[in-house]
Symmetry: D2
Subunit: 333 residues, 4 copies
């Protein structure tokens, strides 16, 4: 068993920083290197976590033989290139979701993952959320029968999405989560996709995306990603899912986090689940996920909670939704 | 001012009975006659409310010169015939929703209403729900800006819908409410409609209907009518609406009625809003609505809370949804 | 049957105005007179509702032989004098809660009500709330068995209570509601009372009151009245009650009103139940209550939904709580 | 830094088993021994986790020089003896809450902890719940000003408490949590205590306990522990806390766990926070807590998240509540 994995993080935006925070005190892992093109940010993060190895070019980090595993937390458009090179360099690769922005890119990555000797896993974080995994367990036990209707909401305040909408669309950025979960829950495939986007502001991507799926098992699944909630929305994310089966129903509500703080600045429902701070330590779902990734490396087993093929399929469905939204037509898969 | 309206109710199913209960003790109205084809039911209701005039043929009730106003609470397929005759007979006519099952029937009814000297109104009860009307007021005051995204849920337990699905579909039976409200809230028109139905049981109509609308003002509206919730669902109806605007958002939740009773038979959230019993009197939204209809007659003014044209438009949109669900194609209006 | 009750309202503060709004369009009632010591306010209200008879001295209104019924909506300290005189003048009297501020005053009023020929009723509005009356019905049907524990919350934002705390305490002003409901639900009596007040601001009364009751049937009931919620609290009132019985439990939540409006000024959950505006008409619980009072007069029957003795008992329990809070000792009743 | 702590668990009831499940796969800890007086249970647990060292007498486990740290998860009455001996034996000691059943026992344990060279910590698990610790952080930042009123609920279904009520009372078993949190949040002391118990069934302890505290900082705190909810209560625990301050308010809701499963057997809100299963691993708050205890040992620092004195104080307040409930009098501390 590997006792101590030397780990690097590529990409130090908001979420790359979360990776660093979680990995920096994870038993069995030594966070050894970080990489971003922005020297100032690199210095800030390296200083805060007392990291010796810093890189502005990811290729240099990948060339570092000491590094055994990496998190890739960059813009989605860079995923293909970096993931493929990291796999070729023999690293264990944790790639943030979505796998890539196109099906073609996904296929290249899937191929590279198959050929690689290191582990590969895309960060479908929701599968590591106990609310979701207990729902999955209940479904697999047959407690709600066959799934016939699903609705997923994953809405963000407008001020949060403002920094993201030039990089990714709501459907690709958040709809990917629920698309993956719907595929996972039903164990079925999407037959047809219809979608609509709404543009409110002048970003590269529309502010709001809706998609309606028909599954091969006859279920309907509807995806709602409105990245334009009022700025004073109390929750950091309004994420809910309703799953109706022939024998029962399941309701997941990730927006109500069990904590409401009403101070003179407004009403806040801070994250208590995904990566809350506890005594200076990031606990919660992201830790569960990265801990799982680390455990797989230590135990020398391949991560099977989510396969590369599954990650690709979710992207393919979202791409069909993007196409439908653009053409106004139903897309058949 | 008319002091005392002589009133008749045609159709004595579940909801006809609710009309009778509300009208039987409404000040300024004398419930004078009831009508159903089922003699046993006629006797039961007439006996309970001590009503002298009973009819098994609605034509006889309409021929009764004493009756000034009627509620038509029959199957939707009978709406056209009865409504047109009632209007021709000079009665004030309250017609339950939906106006009719086809646009053609709606047009005939709208024509008859225009030609009639009596008042005419379709029972879009939700407009008389304070939760809804206060939302409408907030929208009209500009408090949430321009509407960009809406989602409406109106789901029923499977045991409740079992008695209804041979008569009407979820979209036509319940989606009509939210379609009307979306048209009312946006003040816009539906441009395109896409819909999906799911059939679970062997009724004439599918158990679940979903529709996605694109409005002329660019908003997206999504309608969910899953008439297949588990039988032990605690609420009588899971009715919710989310309205996202450029300056704010509104959430209506009609399922959480403020009362949860957990007895040994399960968890119940009884209706406290639509037509709850209070001291043997039906209060709530249905009373508000019928009281408004009566007030218009008394004051000699035409009901303007909902026009026949609006009722027809909602039916036209639902018919387009039914067509889309059947063909799998997007329908343009 | 009396067809048209001539009605007067004494006291035109916030709630007196609500009475006027409800009574002004109530069938079978003619709002004929209003009274307040403040001439400017008198003119404003009379003008708005086109009322001919206005009084600055309630004695003059009581001397008006045309007036058959009155609402007394004044400060609690004036209740005894005005109610007794109104009853002596032969009017039907609707007195706002609490009946009076002392048990002695209550006894005088109860005596006057017994001796009077007119109806008398104290406005325990919650009994006319369907959420509450359906809970009472479930309890009476034995659905939750014998009650063993109750907790009632009735909390107000600090900016709302600021205008009230010089007139009445939280326990007397709001705790009276839940004390009455606990007595009604259990059908028992309070044996011992312990209470604590907390003073935050410099008003005549403390901002927060808590009381713990032991009932003769062995149940514990706890009353929470914190009139010091943050000003940006979304609900107009945070009113909840939990009733645990040997066979089940009931939860009433009057704060979640089914409507959330998130505009740029904050999050609001407006009243949709007590006296919401619908098409320019005040509907809801206050209308239910005043309608009941009017119906009793019309039908020549005495109001039995709440008796004067019951109103007095609730005041007696609250007075014991006030005494306990002052002395720090348990008070036996 | 200690790399691998040899750990033993004493007591293998419901919660001892949870300790075993969490510790069995915790990095840096080797679960080496378990102990219970029940041979059958010992065999079951040891077999499931493949544990070599098993003991029926805790003294033998404590005599095992290899064991460096222990969890004591026995009946509260055994805490004093076992904890003192474990400390004397030089072990690091994690003692489940409450510290002990009497103040005298607590004092002995505190003394032993002071004299010991090993770490000592009582398992006040709630302090390791992100919902709670984020609330504490907000309070410490002054976001809600000075605390003036608190209400804590920690209610259990009757079928869950049936197995516990002969061992511990609701106030001592669950009220201890919220008493500790109120002391922690206010940073103040309890001055007076008043409490009431309600007995429903024939167990050694009453089914329901209520307590009202007055703090030195003038706040009121009310504790509700009704271990008699209906068996079909959807949540495993109805745990809520309301904290009202001069500048804001905080609401913690641990009952709504974000997951509702409605299958044909009823409505369930399973635990997703305290110790949910994720991929065969117990994650959540208990893991956070034991991980903290382990980290302190590894880093050679004393646990300061909760001190022995604090654990003792919470017990002292609960003992005062038990005394008040018995005598009916207010107890001064």
């Amino acid at each position: 068993m590997i006792e101590n994995i030397k780990y690097g993080v590529i990409g130090l935006g908001f979420f790359g920083e979360k990776h660093v925070e979680v990995l920096s005190d994870m038993p069995g892992i030594t966070l050894a290197a970080v990489c971003t093109r922005r020297p100032h940010r690199l210095k800030e993060i390296a200083g805060r976590f007392n990291l010796r190895k810093t890189y502005t070019d990811y290729k240099d980090l990948l060339a570092d033989a000491e590094i055994e595993a990496v998190s890739i937390v960059t813009h989605v458009n860079d995923h293909r290139e970096i993931a493929v090179e990291a796999l070729k360099a023999g690293k264990h690769v944790f790639l943030e979701k979505p796998m890539a922005g196109t099906v073609e890119d996904c296929e290249v990555i899937v191929g590279a993952a198959k050929a690689a000797r290191g582990n590969f896993m895309v960060g479908h974080i929701c599968r590591f959320d106990p609310r979701v995994s207990l729902a999955k367990a209940a479904i697999d036990e047959g407690r709600i029968g066959r799934i016939v209707s699903m609705h997923a909401t994953r809405n963000l305040p407008a001020n949060v999405s403002a920094g993201v909408l030039d990089k990714i669309s709501p459907l690709m950025g958040d709809g990917i989560h629920d698309t993956d979960l719907m595929l996972w829950f039903t164990g079925s495939k999407v037959k047809t996709v219809y979608a609509q986007n709404v543009r409110v502001r002048d970003f590269k991507n529309p502010d709001i995306g809706w998609a309606m799926y028909r599954f091969e098992n006859d279920a309907v699944g509807v995806i709602e990603t409105a990245w334009y909630l009022p700025d004073n929305t109390p929750f950091t994310i309004d994420a809910r899912m309703e799953i109706i089966g022939t024998e029962g129903a399941i309701y997941i509500d990730c927006g109500n986090t069990g904590l409401t703080i009403n101070d003179c600045a407004g009403i806040h429902k801070p994250d208590t689940v995904y990566w809350p701070d506890l005594l200076g330590k990031r606990v919660g779902v992201l830790r569960n996920e990265l801990s799982y990734f680390g455990d797989c490396i230590k135990e020398g087993k391949s991560p099977d909670m989510i396969t590369p093929e599954e990650s690709k399929t979710a992207v393919a469905v979202i791409c069909a939704a993007e196409q439908s939204a653009e053409t106004g037509e139903v897309v058949k898969l």
